[in-house]
């Protein structure tokens, strides 16, 4: 006779729901009861298959998180936030890395159409110009929540930070510190976060009648180093830099060190970054810090609301503000480490 939860419940004189929860290691069931159920189930060689039960229930119990990379401190913290919610909800988190490659993103997202995951949290690749794969996902009624890097042409929920305002504040801070030739290190492509940061920068410079200078970095580390080296060794070197994402800011430090360009005296630097050790850099880096953990948590919370209540996600947008942490890379007065 095939072993079922019903048999285990009957033999142990427990409710079927109690056995089912115990086997899922639910917090609602006491450790003692769980031990009894596990022991008896093991004795009977009972192994429930989650995917057999997922076919019955029409859900897999998995959510997908699609990210450009995990090496970036923002995305590490965001995964922590997402996973903390998913774990509480009894869901499993599948992590997919696009490495900023559109084709890889397309191939990953295509896999989701068929029930492998119940919902998707996503930060799109930088050079994404075609969105059919996302439209398709949306058409397949798989709930999709964007965080940080949003695809604005898809009507769904998203969790972002105040990119325009915080870039404006970053530029204004450099201007207040005396910078007159402020460059913005951008990335090619259509990313909304970069566009909004760029607009905030532009607005601040126009409001102060200063010239704009946008430098496009790339995903290739060597190319990037060459672009930044050229920028910093030319005769018209900027005296202020805003790094629009973490990975374009670190090379600026390296090249300043190599060429003995003194930060903040020769040049002042602000980076959009979630780096926890920004205060330990030489000199401590002024950052616009995104609320990465909170953004991950908020995005997962919306996704689970949609999954539990079975409603379609609207074009709602949650904005969690970033924080400007002023440190010695933009400030010639002595500042306490913080």
């Amino acid at each position: 006779m095939s072993v079922t939860i019903k048999k285990i419940a009957k033999d142990l004189n427990l409710a079927v729901s109690t056995v089912s929860k115990a086997l899922r290691d639910s917090h609602e069931i006491s450790a003692e009861t769980k031990a009894r159920v596990f022991e008896y189930a093991a004795k009977l060689d009972y192994i429930p298959n989650p995917y057999a039960s997922s076919l019955k229930k029409g859900r897999s119990g998995n959510i997908a998180v699609v990210l450009p990379e995990v090496a970036d401190s923002f995305f590490s913290a965001a995964i922590n936030g997402i996973e903390s919610i998913a774990h509480d909800k009894g869901y499993h988190t599948m992590v997919y890395l696009t490495h900023e490659d559109v084709q890889r993103e397309q191939s990953i997202v295509r896999e989701f159409r068929n029930g492998r995951v119940d919902g998707v949290l996503m930060s799109i690749v930088a050079n994404d110009e075609k969105y059919e794969h996302l439209t398709e996902l949306y058409a397949n009624k798989i709930p999709l929540v964007f965080f940080d890097r949003v695809c604005e042409s898809i009507e769904t929920a998203s969790v972002v930070t105040n990119d325009f305002d915080s870039a404006y504040a970053a530029a204004k801070h450099l201007i207040d510190q005396g910078s007159k030739r402020i460059a913005f290190l951008s990335m090619p492509g259509e990313l909304a976060i970069i566009k909004h940061r760029h607009q905030g920068y532009t607005q601040a410079l126009r409001d102060h009648a200063l010239p704009e200078r946008v430098v496009f970095c790339t995903d290739n580390e060597d190319e990037n180093n060459a672009i930044i080296e050229q920028l910093l060794t030319a005769s018209d070197r900027p005296d202020g830099i805003i790094g629009s994402i973490e990975k374009v800011t670190m090379p600026v430090y390296k090249i300043c060190h190599a060429h003995r360009i003194a930060i903040p005296y020769d040049i002042k630097i602000i980076g959009f970054s979630h780096l926890q050790i920004a205060s330990l850099l030489d000199p401590p880096l002024t950052t616009v810090t995104q609320p990465a953990f909170e953004m991950g948590k908020a995005a997962a919370t919306i996704l689970f609301k949609a999954l539990e209540k079975k409603y379609n996600l609207k074009n709602e947008r949650i904005i969690i503000p970033s924080v400007l942490n002023v440190r010695a890379s933009t400030h010639t007065m002595s500042i306490e480490n913080k």
Copy 2:
């Protein structure tokens, strides 16, 4: 009539295997054929369920990666290595974070017994003292490969680095630089990596007739800061520090900065760390750098060999050596940034 791969193949005049591969977005199939298959399948509303097919094939197509955290640069790089192999093999990567909590690890691993994943890659929690959940996994014939943090009482494959030798080399380097009171910042629990690093440190100090001093840090950030602050402000302050893991090394920097303890003059510091920006810290941090990406790749490669060839993993061990990167935190002579 229910739509099947056979029907799609017949209607499009393709082999069943071609349609099946196209639907899996295989690299073996041309973009043109894939487009034809996808378009026709969409027209017929054909959605293959991976878990229906997994029940038939007895595999889920998922692997699990169980880690203490993702914020650590070592684990970020290891996930990149693992995911690069899994993606090539057409597998999906599920990431589980234990946050150094044994109960959470147990509850995560229990979920694996029932077919959710085909194999497991794991770095165990630091304070793990009970291994029944791992023994159970092993008994259920789910292939398990440890990387970095190994449970030595389970006979399976593991990928590690040369912890004893590299800790010996780290201590020897501090001794060569003139340190006489070298402390080792350890973590409580039974982690093999910490044990081996501790042993390497001890051996080097004994070989040079120097006194040993082991300081136990904790997982709680505030407690940790208090422990390190006490160590660094006492009259018998060490003149050399080896941080056995990344998260105990960064607080040393913070507290040295706050108390104006000059690195490397008052104290020299080496950390086991995969931090890419170690060279940008103030001062640049000497590190023992583990080959994180390579370790992740090697562990995933072994796991897939076991999955594909269906053999049981033996007690084999792959050792990929770490590298000592000497920088200004241990060296009073001027050193080029690297």
